[in-house]
Symmetry: D2
Subunit: 404 residues, 4 copies
């Protein structure tokens, strides 16, 4: 194959360069191209109309940052072979390959009983076979079994390029400028010490800023009331559909593949058998199906679908403590009466749950700071740390969704 270097315009970073045939082959593969049709932020665009970017775009961006990170580390004397470079780049390119449509919202709902990271591993293995084992290093880096641990940490860790890209990209496309992180500065401050990824002392403020930006993005965007309401409606829709299917009611899916996963696929199935079908699912199957269901005879289903399609969403309230069950019951009774449905059915329109956001968890994740003098300290323990004990514990909010 006559190989040509490829340059891709990216409004976030300017240009992204593809300069290796294997990378090019992976990007051209239908499995990867499918990510074009899966939105990175699901229904966030109902609040932030610009947030319609795709998982393909995000993973290209993370790939770009991986290249910058590896170049920086090499400039600092860290040994990274060409094979490791390509491996790390492929690992990050494919880190989200197992996401299904509306992934975070529908995780384990649409594809019952399988986690997207497990699907990613399956697809990586399948691709590895197709490409004659060229993905071996990528798979090891992705899974964390590769000896140089810092490569895995760049793919998945507190300061991985996945987070750096999605925070940068999501704040860019939503227009929430406060979510901007100084990704380029953090990248320039990465070091490897004792085989682990750390940051230089002078990046402390940048990393604090990064964590604060993440916190802000969670409450202002990812867990925005309206976004949560829409995602919960989607979950309720699939749950209702499953119920109706179980009851033998006729359901018109937009595609055979979605039909299969809703009607036939079982959690106990060996998922490998269905991988081919899975790699053909995307947001359009779900969205078009929901549009079909707007006219369904089941009042619960059609009302939820119509609400989501027309952006007539359930109301939602957040509060620090659980909601009074009496209030919930009253609201349910009211809806049951208004819509002339059972109270059980009313629970599709009135329900509660929890939204959790941890700013920084010093127990199971770490950002280590390498001091000039040589010491290593966790970022939550440096002098005048912004990320103090209290903040680093999870913040939980309770929500109540209801039909007004």
């Amino acid at each position: 194959m006559a190989y040509v270097r490829k340059i891709i315009n990216d409004p976030v970073y300017g240009f992204i360069t593809i300069d290796h045939p294997l990378i090019f082959e992976i990007i051209s593969h239908p499995y990867y191209q499918r990510l074009r049709r899966i939105h990175q932020m699901a229904f966030a665009s109902l609040v932030y109309p610009g947030a319609v970017h795709t998982r393909l775009h995000h993973s290209l961006g993370a790939y770009h940052l991986m290249g910058l990170a590896l170049t920086e580390l090499r400039n600092k004397g860290v040994e990274i072979t060409k094979d490791e470079e390509i491996g790390a780049k492929i690992a990050i390119l494919l880190h989200d390959i197992g996401h299904g449509p509306f992934s975070h919202a529908l995780e384990r709902k649409l594809i019952k009983g399988v986690h997207h990271e497990d699907i990613s591993v399956l697809i990586l293995q399948l691709l590895n076979e197709q490409l004659n084992g060229q993905l071996q290093t990528a798979i090891e880096i992705f899974s964390g079994t590769y000896p140089k641990q810092f490569l895995h940490q760049l793919v998945s860790g507190q300061l991985d390029v996945d987070r750096m890209d999605y925070l940068t990209r999501d704040s860019f496309f939503t227009g929430v400028s406060e979510g901007v992180i100084g990704y380029d500065r953090i990248l320039k401050m990465l070091v490897v010490h004792d085989g682990e990824l750390m940051i230089e002392e002078k990046a402390i403020y940048s990393v604090e800023k990064f964590l604060v930006a993440r916190r802000l993005m969670y409450w202002q965007v990812y867990l925005h009331k309206t976004v949560v309401a829409a995602e919960k409606m989607l979950v309720r829709i699939i749950e209702r559909a499953n119920e109706l299917i179980a009851a033998g009611i006729e359901m018109e899916m937009a595609s055979k593949n979605l039909d299969f996963f809703l009607k036939q696929h079982q959690p106990e199935d060996n998922f490998i058998k269905h991988l081919e079908k899975f790699t053909q699912l995307d947001d359009s199957d779900v969205m078009c199906t929901i549009k079909n269901w707007c006219g369904h005879v089941d009042k619960v289903l059609s009302r939820l679908c119509k609400g989501l399609v027309e952006r007539k969403l359930l109301k939602i309230r957040f509060q620090p403590e659980p909601f009074d069950p009496l209030l919930v019951a009253t609201l349910k009774a009211d809806v049951a009466q208004r819509l002339n449905i059972s109270e059980e059915e009313a629970s599709y329109f009135v329900f509660t749950g929890e939204a959790v956001n941890t700013m920084y968890n010093p127990y199971d994740e770490h950002i280590k700071v390498l001091f000039k003098e040589g010491g290593v300290t966790d970022i939550s323990r440096v002098d005048n740390a912004l990320i103090h004990q209290q903040l680093s514990s999870a913040v939980k909010k309770y929500y109540l969704c209801y039909l007004r």
Copy 2:
């Protein structure tokens, strides 16, 4: 209804403000919300992965610019009543309401025999009925029958806010920084003279820049080879589907609405009857259907669909003169043999056409410059005009699509 001012984050302009109940009502209407599911740039995202913004986002942006333009003109002493302001804002909000899925590509193909602007008018009228005649001024401004002509020119003219937004927004989301126009400067230089929209003398260079940016966006983005190839494949797919339908072959559509327009709707129909169905169509119907057809028994259809879905596109070449018919015939014969199909069928994979881009047409469109001393001159006739005779005539390129 307790009215609340609404602020929408926009990565392009920062914030867009909705501060009038009627505007709010229109934006909340399902007809308008449908535009969330129609991409502004169809398949341009196959080349520019960021270009996945929607017609809803574009029309909100144009609405924002309309507000700025009206404020500027008022500051300069132009009388604009509150009713006219709201009318002009609604007219621009809804200027694209008649677009169907993949609009420019499928214009007159999917919805046979009806132009999107005519559909826009029908929807405007329907909305007007639903909203008790509150859209009367908007409709007159949209149609050009409102006495103050400059309001129509802001909606549709050489310097309308539609173009200003789409050039700005498309260059933003594609990341093609050369497409940037100084929309804010041009807006500040707008004037009304003899009832017509013009620009002040000192905006000449900005407007020239605007026209050059448009020219660049056309060749680099809108008529980018790969984008054209994908759009032509889509057209071919619909044409083949129509052929198969006419031949009575079974076709699996993703939705009943799309099924209706492909199978039953006729150009001679009174389109008003089908308006409700039309307002439920969007890109997902088409995309999901094309995915369904990837497994169709018809080799031509399935191959084209699979190619589009997996981004294995037809090759395309541009040249200034028509392609040699012999070359085309040879390519067709070759494809027919390779795919074991008829030469007629091969013409779905090998075909030619024209792409045209006019930089500025001094005959049927005008940008008038108002000089300080009071004279009015067309921009193509000012001293040292960049936009000279030759350029202002249409530039035509011929393309040849073929299967490699």
Copy 3:
């Protein structure tokens, strides 16, 4: 006077509009024009080469934000008369008018015994006389005596447009993207309650982000080691010059005005008499004079001056506790020997001091949050506040400057 609306290009906000004759007159006044020749960030450009913007540019920016803030408040029903609007705009335009050259560094050194805010008041009064009392409201707002307290808080308070502009502008021109604050979002969330400026509940995260960005800008930019070293050298230069002048040594100043302030002006003088001379001083007097002194016979003076001009700065170290006096003494002795000067003179090259940064001081400054339900809470006391007790107390670092 034929008045013309004036539009000024600003890379930060796009355009700044001057649309009132009085504002125009003030901006055209030589007192205001002098701010063109005073850098906003003194020697920060030695580290951040883009940071050469001027106090004129900053005050124009703050004026722009004032306009936005007032418009927002009016839209929310806060009554602000035209006179108050112009008054608040003038107050912010002139809030820094009393700054002398290299202001923060040379405060009370160059202009002995007078604080820049007092000079601002004197100049405001002088201008008020020249403009027939048209600045009366502006002066009251500036001084905090105007009844509507929120107007003063917009000029000078925790959320004033001064800070919003300088953080935005300084992060823009330095290129420290982490300093970006969402000024536009905060402006849209301002409210007036009980006559005081507050923020809406949903701006909590934005304001936290603003405070964190400020903390970062302090440590990364304003108190950057190299910047502090340069500013301390400048202070030492002026101190040495005063010493030499007192000793009757001949000194070549670049201008008569600077000559006057260094040689004749006394703290006990009535400053009003010298206002005219003061309004002719700017950075060029100081910089050109320092260049002249590079060849001065006094070794201490010339060495410091040459070091500053050629960017051969003193070394500087920061630490959380005071420096060991023995270390300081040893360094001094070493310098005295190397340069063949007295130990007293060596203290111009070896000295210590403190840099202090308070993130948020809940005792003498407040950011009040107005909750939807009506309650008012300080930002440091909301649920899960980022700005906790410890952080809100001052953070002090000690520095040691020395000649290597």
Copy 4:
């Protein structure tokens, strides 16, 4: 010397990296540091307040682009040795080292009879001596005598990184967004063919855009009426000062160095003798001196100086044909009478001249396009060229300055 890689924040490009000791040494040299005190755009900041960036910042930016350009060319297989890389980087870093204060305005006025490029060569040679011949390659590349011609063309040519940086940087700091060029895209499209720098075919629209942006920047910024008026006033001030000096009138300069060049330096001098003095001159000498002259007894001098300092500029008009001598004479007579000065003196306040801007000159400069098929064509001769014959000839405007 323990060498440390240095990263410089740049608001335009993000970060600029210094990673070679020789580059570091040159940047640290006082000759280079002087460029901090020379504004890139002289008096443009009187119109565009953000345009206060320095020649140091511009040359750092051009150095950064040079690095990108060389990397691109190497990736395309062009051989560039490490020595050539460093040479080209030094050549561009120092390309403006010979600029005096307010360079373009005062060229040959302040430093009589010597062109800034000749001074650059002298300083390069002096530095080369100081640095033991390490600048040999840089000097050859700068002068165009180095065999690989494309390296010189990157320093000085139609598509050199000097222009790319100054257009990008000047449009950034002025806030004139229409001046934005896609420098990154053009850099990626550079090729070397037959030893010469060219662009790939697909960069044609980007380069056209670059030329149009340049044209716009000329008329809207560099030759903006107010900017020209200020620069002409500065020239008149120096001319008047020379006249007064020749007449033996006492003049108070801010510095001895400026005093020398105004009073003693002669065009026929061997300039090398004065190089040391020259390298100490900067904008502050001139600005502080002009401030001193505001109180000069000579009415012509003091009035011009005060006008420039207080931004009370001469009026200026542009027109395509020369101004009527009768009009000029009338204006002069009027000024002579009003100010009670001679008509000869009045010519300091009333004068005419020409401003010229060539968009693209196909005779003595070339942008060559390398076509895929291998041919080479000048950009003015490609199909549908925007840069046609008429535009490529110089555009001349006449100006008239006068005191209102």
